[in-house]
């Protein structure tokens, strides 16, 4: 007779999936709840910086694209909340933990979108970094999380391509438009690198997460992959990535690059980024303003059910 722990270990060792009704160690469940919730919150809060440009998109075509993209991000949040709820937390608890600051979201969404070019840069770099993070998560050991990631990854490629196409269009425009793109890339490059989390040496949970098959790659691995992918894309676009240390290293077969400002990263994570307060206040307002709708719909459903019984 094998113990529950042994069964769990064997499943993970075979790269099989753990499903909601399986026994799992408490630490595994907690880590998953934290990671999936943080991921879901990021998708939901992530609608705000881009939503900022919805009413000011320069054409109907661009507006339709941006609307579809932002709606996708809402969908991503919902897939992930659904996966998280299979671990025994409720949606309301998750929302309340976000609003109370007890659970985090990606620090990238605490930066403002100051120009319309930011819509393109976010699609290219921010969704690009998200893709790097998310593709390996399709093989994560927790079934519902992996399946949500598969759905999300199918949609992300549209996000990145529309952003890159937007930037190429601006780069074919006027000098001012090209300067706008460069200025936007200058602001987003380093925060995009920070999306992969702190360096491996300062990421104590990574080892355990990899043993459990939750994470498949370390933060530094994924960051390197992202830099290597972005350099030729930047060249094709005709922008300069704002890192004087960035150069190809023949020996390593990778690009060397500079160190992100980890003090800034920690400050933003702790709540002191340019938009932290604004993002949460907006989310809280949306939640509070929607309360009467949720109540009314529930009351209507109850009355309809009673009437059909009568």
């Amino acid at each position: 007779m094998t113990t529950l722990q042994e069964q769990f270990d064997a499943t993970v060792a075979h790269s099989d999936r753990i499903e909601p009704r399986d026994w799992m160690p408490e630490g595994y469940r907690k880590t998953l709840v934290r990671q999936i919730a943080q991921h879901a919150h990021s998708e939901i809060i992530g609608m705000q910086p881009e939503g900022n440009w919805l009413t000011r998109a320069p054409s109907l075509r661009r507006k339709a694209i941006l609307l579809a993209k932002v709606q996708d991000e809402a969908g991503h949040g919902l897939y992930l909340y659904s996966a998280c709820e299979t671990l025994g937390v409720s949606r309301l608890e998750l929302t309340e933990m976000l609003l109370a600051g007890a659970q985090k979201y990606s620090s990238i969404f605490n930066y403002p979108t100051l120009s319309y070019a930011d819509v393109g840069t976010i699609g290219w770099l921010v969704d690009g970094a998200a893709i790097c993070n998310q593709v390996p998560l399709c093989r994560t050991s927790y079934g519902p999380y992996g399946r949500a990631m598969v759905r999300i990854c199918k949609e992300e490629s549209f996000h990145q391509r529309q952003g890159y196409e937007l930037l190429t269009t601006m780069m074919r425009g006027t000098d001012e438009q090209r300067a706008m793109v460069q200025e936007s890339v200058d602001r987003f490059w380093w925060p995009a690198l920070m999306m992969f989390g702190p360096p491996d040496a300062d990421s104590p949970n990574t080892v355990q997460s990899m043993e459990w098959g939750i994470k498949r790659n370390t933060n530094d691995d994924l960051r390197q992959r992202f830099v290597d992918m972005s350099v030729p894309q930047a060249e094709a676009l005709g922008v300069t990535l704002p890192d004087p240390a960035l150069r190809w290293n023949d020996e390593r077969g990778h690009h060397d690059f500079g160190e992100p400002d980890w003090e800034e990263f920690m400050a933003v994570v702790k709540g002191n980024g340019p938009c932290n307060a604004q993002r949460i206040a907006h989310r809280r307002r949306a939640h509070d303003d929607g309360a009467w709708v949720r109540e009314a719909a529930l009351a209507f459903a109850e009355r309809s059910a009673e009437e059909s019984r009568a």
């Binding site: 399986d22 709820e85 399946r147 309809s304 059910a305």
Partner: protein
């Protein structure tokens, strides 16, 4: 008064004609009609389906708390249920 959540629904989508409905995830809705509408927006924004079923999560009866329990073990030793159990000479066609 503490807020009551809308109930949870499991969503099943038929990808195209000729396929079964497959479980795709869950969502919250006040009633069944709203659950179908939400499922349409959340799970089929790109022609992922031609038909949607929703069922209240509390109405799902599962085989057991553990997905890999002995309920499925007996089929393991009934190998004669599989076509590969039977040796047929190579020169017999269409089998």
């Amino acid at each position: 008064m503490p807020e009551t959540e809308w109930p949870l629904w499991e969503v099943f989508v038929r990808g195209k004609r000729g396929l079964n409905h497959v479980h795709v995830g869950s969502l919250h809705a006040a009633d069944d009609e709203m659950a179908v509408r939400h499922a349409r927006d959340v799970y089929t924004r790109r022609n992922e389906g031609v038909s949607i079923w929703v069922v209240r999560s509390t109405d799902v009866t599962a085989s057991s708390p553990d997905e890999k329990d002995p309920m499925f073990a007996p089929s393991g030793d009934k190998v004669y249920r599989h076509p590969t159990f039977y040796a047929i000479p190579d020169d017999v066609p269409h089998m």
